[in-house]
């Protein structure tokens, strides 16, 4: 056994084997506690998969724990005889008698409960999960998979990784905005430890807010959201920070071209673990070498911090406090611009009984930005943002194969601050802020109707209430203010919508299945943003008496087939979405500092459909995936484009993503990604008029043309100098090239009338042959 473990360690540097190694070499992680430690991994005896959330306890004592997301458990026991129990939903409870004299490893294998064999995997992840689970349109990636992909400027980025998945598109070159199945970026619910993140970008979108050292993995639901989530039309991206209890004080970090990062984690006593992580970019230090004085006096940087504390109150209770704070700063002598997110969550997980689990959480999220002018005689400051406080109570109840219930409530208070400007010497100008409550109550059930057929269905009742002391405006047919109403506090407008979602899987055999589902999602808050480049200067605004909630009805169906004992996974998924209440912006819409933003919004309908093919190889020296998406996304809005249907801004007819990874040896690993997508729909000038020697455009219909297709190859090489080293300090070098064949993908198209007397067009492209090197370490 120790030899096997040792080899496992050599194969990869994961924390999991690190922990096991410590078990094999007790001198490593030894502490001076008087109690002895019993630890090990809980696995499914049939599949060998690790199990998370298994209750492991010594009978008759208060000593108990639950296994973490890698199946690890640790019990601290007094010397002597103990009966160790391991219990988990869907598995037979096991008891073992052991005589504890010194710390030891004790792995536990659980037998699946016959009644629920194979199909309902609620917590653990099954090798065949893609085939057997009711879920469709779900993508999961572990941080290990993400870290192997080539990256821009050496920054591993979870959002860049999901942009490679079928049906997911980057909205701009190098940007961290993404479009799921033709939807807008604001139709994605992005959660960090279950807390909404309103702007997931750093450095104007080139990097995301997620620090890969603290992230354990992500899940992306492309439309068929679990019923406990809602509020967005297109997708849910749930990013989780590391939750496994570290064996000892340890850390990881890296030094790259753009930023340096460090994550530390450890324990305080037996029940408490902590984690802190931080990053800061330092590209700006090179500005001191700039030729121009103005550049030397500028600063450009971002930083972010994550922190988390977990405390086990008892065998049945765990609380967790998690937070994120990040900021981007751009400053020059003439002014500065900053933006950032702050999130925090407090979660209490309580096991009511073996089959009844609960989770209560309090979450807050804040996003804001500020622009300041320091120019003489023009001192001004402009800031805006959004702030949320949310409460969630969520319950899982498992009663046999017919009742696997998930139910709960959630309630969020949104505070919108659309803009406040102060100009020295004048009264402040403020766009009226507003508040709203968003609630939901939901119930879902997953049941196995027959050996081959499993259904999941449920209902979410969401509600949205505008409240506060506020003036609302009434608009006439020309979208001009007709009348205004003053509301003297309390709720002045409410919407309630039912969101049914139902899905099923039919197993053709153990390695193939067909699935189908229907989901309705409702979105009550949206983003006023025109820029595909993902501008941080944007405004979230709520549904209101003038803006009805946006609704999508999505039907999807798919065929899933695995080969060679799940070494290969393949799937075909089709979807059709019908959208109502779709918003778009009128011509010349003024999105910022506009008291009457609602007058610049036009409402219509949308349709999106597509088919996604995916093939994935999970093991062997060569791993990776290839996917192809054929899709369409359209809008029809009576007052835009003369009422004619036009392409949604994120419509991409064809999209191909290839990501391959090859292990040459323990020391060397190479990977490559290639992406191709049809050009984004765009509006081009087709005519012009002239005034005073200046030329002004007359445009085609909205999104009538397309930009050139986008494609790019990225390469990376990871070198581990001493993979067999037993030293505590582990390191690796990562070399990558972004856009390796130097494709000039247009980022912006601009017009100029200077070089020649009549207009010419230019394209701005950003990244060609961007090499980077990053040094990563772990201790």
């Amino acid at each position: 056994m120790p030899m096997e473990l040792f080899q496992g360690y050599i194969r990869n540097l994961s924390v999991l084997t690190w922990l096991l190694l410590i078990c094999c070499y007790p001198a490593f992680g030894q502490n001076n506690r008087q109690k002895t430690e019993i630890k090990g991994i809980v696995t499914d005896n049939n599949t060998g998969d690790t199990l998370e959330g298994v209750s492991v306890y010594a009978k008759g004592t208060s000593n108990g724990t639950s296994s973490d997301n890698k199946g690890h458990y640790i019990l601290h026991l007094d010397s002597g005889n103990h009966i160790i129990c391991a219990a988990f939903i869907g598995y037979e409870t096991k008891e073992f008698s052991i005589n504890v004299t010194a710390s030891k490893i004790f792995d536990i294998q659980l037998e699946p409960n016959i009644q629920e064999l194979g199909t309902v995997t609620v917590f653990g992840r099954d090798k065949d999960e893609n085939v057997t689970s009711v879920n469709m349109g779900v993508e999961r990636m572990t941080i290990k998979e993400i870290q192997r992909l080539p990256v821009l400027m050496g920054e591993v980025d979870v959002i860049k990784a999901i942009q490679l998945l079928p049906g997911v598109q980057a909205t701009a070159e190098g940007g961290s905005g993404f479009s799921v199945r033709g939807g807008s970026p604001d139709q994605n619910l992005i959660l960090l430890d279950n807390t909404t993140v309103y702007n997931a970008s750093h450095l104007l979108g080139f990097f995301s807010v997620f620090n890969n050292d603290v992230v354990s993995g992500l899940e992306l639901f492309k439309g068929d959201l679990p019923l406990k989530y809602g509020g967005r039309l297109s997708s849910l991206l749930s990013v989780e920070t590391k939750s496994e209890k570290p064996q000892d004080f340890q850390g990881t970090g890296g030094i790259g071209l753009i930023s340096a990062r460090l994550m530390l984690e450890g324990n305080v006593g037996e029940r408490t673990s902590w984690l802190v992580g931080g990053r800061r970019s330092y590209a700006d230090i090179f500005l001191v070498f700039a030729k121009e004085e103005a550049l030397r006096k500028s600063s450009v940087y971002f930083y972010d911090m994550n922190a988390k504390i977990s405390h086990r109150l008892s065998a049945k209770d765990r609380i967790e406090l998690s937070g994120y704070y990040g900021k981007d700063m751009f400053a020059a002598e003439i002014g500065q611009f900053d933006y950032g997110n702050a999130t925090a969550s407090l979660t209490w997980r309580h096991t009511i009984s073996q089959k009844w689990l609960s989770r209560f959480s309090l979450n807050t999220s804040k996003y804001g930005y500020g622009l300041g002018s320091d120019m003489e005689g023009m001192d001004a400051y402009w800031n805006a943002g959004i702030f949320d406080v949310a409460f969630n109570a969520d319950f899982d109840m498992h009663i046999g194969k017919l009742w696997n219930l998930n139910y709960g409530i959630s309630s969020t208070l949104h505070r919108f601050s659309p803009g406040h400007v102060s100009v020295a010497g004048y009264p402040d100008y403020e766009v009226q802020g507003s508040r709203a409550l968003e609630h939901a109550i939901y119930l879902s059930n997953e049941q196995k109707l027959a050996q081959r057929l499993t259904l999941r269905y449920g209902l979410r009742w969401s509600m949205f209430q505008n409240l506060g002391k506020i003036i609302t405006f009434d608009y006439d047919n020309n979208h001009k203010v007709r009348d205004s109403t003053f509301h003297n506090g309390g709720i002045y407008n409410a919407y309630g919508r039912l969101e049914p979602r139902i899905g099923g899987v039919f197993l053709i055999n153990s390695s193939s299945s067909v699935k189908a589902n229907y989901a309705r999602n409702v979105q009550y808050i949206q983003l006023a943003e025109n820029s595909a480049a993902g501008s941080p200067v944007n405004i979230w605004f709520p549904a209101s008496p003038n803006i009805k909630p946006q609704i999508v009805d999505m039907l999807s169906a798919g065929y899933f087939r695995n080969f060679k004992n799940s070494m290969y996974e393949t799937s075909v998924e089709m979807y059709y979405k019908n959208l109502t209440g779709v918003i778009d912006f009128a011509e010349h819409a003024s999105l910022l500092l506009n008291q009457h933003l609602e007058g610049d919004i036009r409402i219509g309908t949308g349709r999106a459909y597509g088919i996604e093919f995916m093939a994935k190889k999970n093991s062997g020296k060569l791993t990776g995936f290839v996917n192809y998406t054929l899709s369409r996304s359209k809008r029809t809005i009576p007052e835009i484009n003369n009422g004619k249907t036009y392409l949604a801004p994120y419509d991409k007819t064809h999209a191909i993503n290839i990501a391959l990874n090859y292990d040459f040896s323990k020391k060397l690993n190479a990977s490559a990604t290639w992406v191709f997508a049809s050009g984004t729909p765009t509006t081009y000038p087709t005519g012009r008029f002239e005034i005073d020697g200046g030329y002004f455009p007359i445009y085609s219909g909205r999104n009538e043309y397309r930009r050139p297709a986008y494609h790019r190859l990225d390469l990376s090489l990871t070198f581990i100098p001493r993979p067999d080293s037993k030293k505590r300090w582990k390191s690796e070098w990562n070399f990558s090239v972004y856009n390796a064949y130097g494709r000039k993908n247009p980022w912006l198209i601009t017009y100029s009338q200077v070089k020649t007397t009549t207009p010419t067009a230019d394209m701005v492209y950003l990244f060609r042959f961007v090499p980077s090197v990053t040094y990563n370490f772990k201790f």
Partner: protein, 299 residues
């Protein structure tokens, strides 16, 4: 306020971004008539330009339209007649100097057979001249910014309590500067509605002593557009009280002429017009109040 909005663009330029010519192939839109002109409360030979639109990337300039009948009729039943200026095809000027009166509505009518079907079409637009907003005084102050010498231009005036829009027109000695649509700075009163405007900086002129250095450093469109002043120069400032529609027209022209702005731009949108019958361009009226000062030696 506009300049600091460019900070993000400046930041992005730090990334090795590159620019190169880009070919756009589109189907050309059919030609339409373009009419542009204005009437003010100054005594002048006011003029109207009539031309045709052309394909966006056409390399010759847009053609003037000759043979049109142009007139302005006021709500007081005054009629101003225009005749074609021989040297500039498509330019129509008043027969005699005339003055517009605040509070009066003026209608422009242009009659021409633009589509060559043998029948004349009429293209019309109306505008009401707004009241004069008096400038109390103006001031020129020397300043330093980002390592360069500038003169800030400040003005003092009582702003009316209504929602108002303005243009600033500057004469450097005898010539009007910065008054083309693409260079003009329109203002709205959100930040100081109904307040006393107590020395607001609304324009900045380069110090003549920076000219050599600036032109050595860059030779681009922005450099060539710069206006340099020196002590002894006379600056005449005119506050033009414009209609909302004309303000929007100018802002839209300026927003659309350079293509996409990644951070503050909107969807590509056709520039609104107040011309009827499918014409493009704009006809407007505005009232003007002026003040004059001489640039003093910096102390």
């Amino acid at each position: 306020m506009k300049k600091y909005l460019l900070i993000p663009v400046f930041i992005v330029s730090l990334f090795a971004s590159c620019v190169e010519p880009f070919d756009i192939n589109t189907n050309d839109s059919p030609p339409v008539i373009v009419i542009y002109g204005y009437l003010t409360n100054e005594q002048a030979f006011h003029s109207i330009k009539v031309s045709t639109s052309s394909p966006y990337f056409d390399t010759s300039s847009n053609q003037g339209i000759t043979g049109a009948t142009v007139k302005i009729t006021s709500s007081e039943n005054d009629v101003f007649y225009f005749k074609e200026v021989d040297s500039v095809p498509g330019l129509y000027a008043m027969i005699e100097k005339k003055t517009g009166i605040p509070g009066v509505t003026y209608s422009l009518d242009v009659e021409v057979d633009f589509d060559n079907d043998g029948i004349k079409e009429t293209y019309s637009a109306t505008s009401t001249m707004l009241n004069v907003v008096d400038v109390d005084s103006i001031e020129i102050k020397s300043t330093n910014l980002m390592g360069y010498r500038f003169y800030n231009f400040l003005f003092y005036a009582q702003e009316p309590p209504t929602e108002d829009y303005y243009l600033g027109r500057y004469k450097l000695n005898d010539s009007v500067v910065l008054f083309n649509i693409n260079r003009i700075s329109p203002m709205q009163d959100v930040a100081f509605n109904g307040q006393y405007i107590n020395g607001q900086v609304i324009q900045r002129f380069w110090d003549i002593n920076e000219k050599d250095r600036v032109e050595r450093e860059d030779d681009d469109e922005y450099t060539r557009r710069r206006v340099y002043i020196s002590p002894g120069d006379t600056i005449t400032f005119s506050l033009c009280h414009i209609e909302r529609g004309y303000y929007d027209f100018i802002v839209q022209c300026q927003n659309e002429m350079n293509g996409e702005n990644p951070f503050f731009g909107g969807p590509a949108s056709n520039i609104i017009t107040n011309l009827s019958n499918g014409g493009r361009g704009f006809f407007t009226t505005y009232s003007i109040s002026s003040a004059k000062t001489v640039v003093k030696e910096d102390l």
